[in-house]
């Protein structure tokens, strides 16, 4: 097997990556997951290590299978998680992800969700909170194959910038070769609501705590309904405490 060449800026899927950091962990192993017909599986990925991390999950969902993937991407350096999901007939794929960055962190989630057969459902919820000079990226392609009628796909992508120097990139992308499909996506980049913050502070909450509460609410949707929702929320909350 030949080792793939290190990507360059010209590779769309690596456009915003920290290529120097990537070189240190290249090549990235494919982690293959097969969810057999009719079965349900879930996985929570928490990346909070000190060093650079790049992962590539390849998930195949057979007919009627479902997979619930949650990601907390908040390591100290470059953190890239690529997810390819191939959905068979009637399969269901959920991705809920939060990226929490500060300093000069570069965090990214790159997905390619392929609806290969009719009536599969995909739901992606991505929330990024970025402080300092951090960069958070979501590149999300949804491909609907010819004949994948009744496809139902949603991407909800929101980022919160805590400083003027932080950057959020969001690029949901649709490639549709079938009729009768429902593909929705929404993107928003914003700042913490100053009026809300003052309201909370005026009741006695110190600014850090007020921000932490509002940010916790902001990312909550990414983890809601997860099997280990409380654990993920607690880990995220601790990291948010360092960000504000």
């Amino acid at each position: 097997m030949t080792v793939a060449a290190l990507p360059t800026r010209k590779d769309e899927a690596f456009r915003y990556a920290d290529l120097d950091a990537l070189a240190g962990v290249w090549p990235v192993a494919r982690e293959e997951i097969l969810v057999p017909s009719g079965q349900s599986t879930s996985l929570s990925v928490v990346e909070d290590s000190e060093g650079a991390v790049a992962r590539h999950l390849v998930i195949e969902l057979e007919a009627g299978a479902s997979f619930d993937l949650r990601i907390l991407n908040c390591g100290a350096a470059f953190g890239r998680i690529a997810v390819d999901a191939q959905l068979g007939e009637g399969a269901s794929f959920t991705l809920g992800a939060a990226q929490l960055g500060s300093g000069v962190q570069v965090l990214e989630i790159v997905t390619e969700v392929s609806h290969l057969a009719p009536n599969a459902v995909s739901r992606q919820t991505i929330r990024s909170v970025l402080a300092g000079q951090a960069t958070g990226t979501y590149l999300g392609k949804v491909a609907v194959a010819r004949g994948a009628l009744g496809t139902d796909s949603e991407q909800s992508v929101r980022a919160m910038l805590l400083s003027r120097t932080a950057t959020a990139n969001a690029k949901p992308e649709l490639e549709i070769y079938a009729d009768d499909v429902k593909c929705a996506h929404g993107c928003a980049v914003g700042e913490l609501d100053a009026q809300g913050l003052f309201y909370l502070e005026s009741r006695g909450l110190p600014p850090e705590l007020a921000k932490q509460l509002m940010l916790q609410a902001f990312i909550a949707e990414a983890f809601s309904g997860a099997a280990d929702e409380e654990r993920l929320q607690a880990l995220a909350l601790a990291r948010l405490g360092e960000l504000v």
């Binding site: 909370l200 005026s202 006695g204 909450l205 916790q216 609410a217 902001f218």
Partner: protein, 283 residues
């Protein structure tokens, strides 16, 4: 309790408060009335320390009473004497409290811990954060700043239930996200539940009566009396109408116009204003 001296403030570089002076003693309820755009909310926000409200002159001295354990705030009598820790010495030392605090140097949350409460004219909606969640954190942050022990979850819920009951508000509403989807009147009632829970020494209530139906007005009026009509507390009530003052009898009524107090009197001044209007009374 509160001494406002020649206060001037700008909003977006526009002078709004222009040398406003007002003195409020413990045990007193003051009403401020005045035409739209006079600067009433600006005064409230400036006292609360809202960013963007820049003080360009004058001073505000706040002299909260030495706090005693109250049925509302303290589940048990203070154990030992942990006062004076954290921010405590700034707020509760015996000598300091006589001298008073320069309110304008404090951050908004420190003003709250010192005993100030701001009832908003337009309470803010905060999706995803519930009242009980944030109020418990807020109450405990205040208590910590004053050197008091924090409330446990059970103690807090008991207190919240009691105050919601006082304002005849369904406890379930406090489990919802802050003000989200609340009607105008419900928001105002929720402001008063928060005031009951936080148990301040001094409250600025900005048009708490607007948006309330007739029954709610009475409930809120009685709530304000129950929470704030105490010898060691005081209230600044901003309102446009006499109707709230029928329930919460003011000791003094002031007219704020053009960024300063242009006329002061007793409770009868509000009636006179309602009869004759600002033009005639405070021209």
């Amino acid at each position: 309790m509160l001494q406002i001296n020649n206060l001037s403030a700008t909003v977006a570089d526009k002078p709004i408060l222009k040398g406003l002076s007002l003195s409020i003693n413990a045990g007193e309820i003051h009403a401020i009335m005045g035409p739209n755009g006079a600067g009433k909310s600006t005064l409230a926000y400036t006292l609360g320390g809202r960013p963007g409200y820049e003080v360009t002159g004058g001073s505000v001295t706040f002299t909260p009473p030495t706090r005693h354990p109250r049925e509302g705030g303290d589940p048990s009598p203070a154990v030992g004497n942990t006062q004076g820790q954290e921010l405590g010495s700034r707020f509760r030392g015996n000598d300091e409290s006589v001298l008073g605090i320069d309110l304008l140097t404090l951050a908004p949350h420190e003003r709250a811990a010192a005993g100030l409460f701001l009832g908003f004219q337009y309470p803010v909606e905060i999706p995803g954060v519930s009242f009980v969640q944030f109020l418990r954190e807020a109450a405990n942050a205040q208590r910590t700043a004053r050197g008091e022990p924090p409330l446990s979850g059970a103690e807090f819920l008991k207190l919240a239930r009691e105050k919601a009951g006082l304002l005849k508000m369904d406890m379930d509403m406090l489990k919802r996200p802050v003000n989200v989807g609340f009607s105008g009147g419900e928001k105002k009632r929720a402001e008063m539940v928060q005031m009951g829970i936080l148990d301040p020494s001094f409250a600025v209530l900005d048009e708490t009566d607007s948006g309330l139906d007739i029954d709610a007005l009475r409930i809120v009026g009685e709530g304000i009396n129950a929470i704030m009509r105490k010898p060691d507390k005081a209230v600044l009530l901003i309102t446009h109408y006499q109707r709230l003052l029928d329930y919460v009898k003011p000791d003094f009524v002031h007219v704020l116009a053009g960024g300063r107090i242009v006329k002061s009197g007793g409770a009868e001044l509000a009636l006179q204003l309602e009869e004759e209007g600002y033009e005639a009374v405070a021209a």
